[in-house]
Symmetry: C2
Subunit: 371 residues, 2 copies
Amino acid sequence: MAMASGTVELATFERRLGRVQADLRAAGVSAMLVGPSSDFFYLTGHDAHASERLTLLVVPADEKPFAVVPRFEAVLLGERADLLDVHAWQETDDPIAIVAGMLGMGPGSFAVSQQLWSTFLIGVQAAIPGRDWRDATPLLRPLRMVKDDAEVALLREAGRRTDVAWEAFIREPISGQTEREALARLTRLTTDQGLKVNWGICASGPNAASPHHHTGERVIGEGDAVVFDWGGTLGGYNSDVTRTIHVGEPGGEFRRVYDVVRRANQATLDAVRPGASCASLDATARDLITAEGYGDAFLHRVGHGLGLDVHEEPYLVAGNDLPLEAGMVFSDEPGIYLDGRFGVRIEDAVVCTATGGERLNEATRDLVVLD
Amino acid sequence: MAMASGTVELATFERRLGRVQADLRAAGVSAMLVGPSSDFFYLTGHDAHASERLTLLVVPADEKPFAVVPRFEAVLLGERADLLDVHAWQETDDPIAIVAGMLGMGPGSFAVSQQLWSTFLIGVQAAIPGRDWRDATPLLRPLRMVKDDAEVALLREAGRRTDVAWEAFIREPISGQTEREALARLTRLTTDQGLKVNWGICASGPNAASPHHHTGERVIGEGDAVVFDWGGTLGGYNSDVTRTIHVGEPGGEFRRVYDVVRRANQATLDAVRPGASCASLDATARDLITAEGYGDAFLHRVGHGLGLDVHEEPYLVAGNDLPLEAGMVFSDEPGIYLDGRFGVRIEDAVVCTATGGERLNEATRDLVVLD
């Protein structure tokens, strides 16, 4: 992640940390342990770096939050003295022992952030055995999945810039390029917009039938459907867009599948409103695609939350009865994948407002045919 | 990570998995659980993607390894049927329950890879309570830290290409560019060499006194020392180089500090031989720098192992008595950091051979003065 701090006010982090502490007390949890991740950034504005050197934010239910960090990185947290205390460890210290000592010797229940490396959790579990360890995700989910205005503004601007990159991308032919070359050009156009790009997929021809294809050296040519799924970050917040183009005039089945996916994307958007369940959005897309005879080829959920992580709560998947709320931002990305032949996916980011869904991406969804 | 599979033979992965199984039996451990990470790639050649969807490699001591993966990503493991069985889970399944069921209901001891997300470990711990959970790192360390010829060849070529990028970079002035712009140009030159670049540091002026400075919008100008620390991957294997340049003619203290750091880098290289302890290499650099009066300004260990991770075993740090072996690859990166003023770091990758240390980087270590 490349997250610019300073785009969000320090008071915002104070409020978030205070909310976590109130939630910890309500849940009877002693403290939350947060490793370098989007959770760390969300709570402090600091883009902590995950490595073998322990960096850990500890948010006790009743005391001032503190961070245990490598000594020579402590300066990076210097502006946050009002938010948290910093305990720096030297290269020859045992940081696990420092954390264990600070967590105290009494009984306790600890919530652990999703992405903390297991090596650190196992270390702390061994140092203070007999405690209760739980996933912090249920505690953080209500905070993170409802975006405030500043977060929506960053997501909107990240989406807009990604659209600009796409509109430039489809002005030139791609036949003869490898998947890797085509994706590199799209990446370049996206970084030219001031976004930081960390991932992307270009899947061509039969590879497009694999939703998470690993972009490779296949040469794109006449008759290929090509799926591009990519995004970038602005102030830490992600865009995530998928468009499917065709090289040369497509045949009837591709046109039909493209139309089905496009209608499923629109129907999902139209179903967005506060109170609608996450599962109902998935069902909307799935019912439409199933009615058209492609239900078995829609291999994944219709969407996922989008924010500091590319995938986060809420997940738009069967079985998830969570009701949508205004401020939630998520992808709307139905797809149809015909093994050995081709695939089509169309994805936008959508924000749930008080009156319905609003797209954060407006790059054309018309079928684009390139040379 | 961007790891190209196919650069290593399938037989290599069979051998590595077999070695892990033998080590598990010897240690009395039931199975190793490996999340998406360099460990997963090292053992299977598959560049698994870390996300909220569980992907887990399980290596039982006595049975065929298996992977639990999202259904629509199972195809990505298709070529590895001889290595491992694949258990695909649907979007509405509970993958933790699948893993727990396959780990069995008897007692057991499990080794968990360093970077597995805590959310998954906590889930499995809750599903099969009462087991013993340990860090897999001590089991994997002996394998991963001694590179075979194919690994050294990739590290060497990654290093060579990074050197080429640097030599091109220093042909042009950098005064007036922001840190971000300068790093972007160096990144571009490195990706032009066919490396995938995922990180980098440009730290200028007083920022150069912060070893892990977050590259920002400071404008580089006359009188600045500028530290560049960057690298890229080739077939999954990392380069990691640091060079420090000066903008405009430097003063006497910068020259003196630069000379001390350069001699410490050389002395560390000269101390490399099989049997020398990791701690002794750190001491070699530290003693030299301390004798010159800058001991307190050498804020970090002298080096770290380099391979599929940018930081991995062995760590060249005080207290680590591990003896070097031929095939170990690590950084040699002494630095001196003068708070509020400037910093100097010079870093090469080094392979330990039967007869001593051999650098994988030969980009000039002469003091470079740029406009």
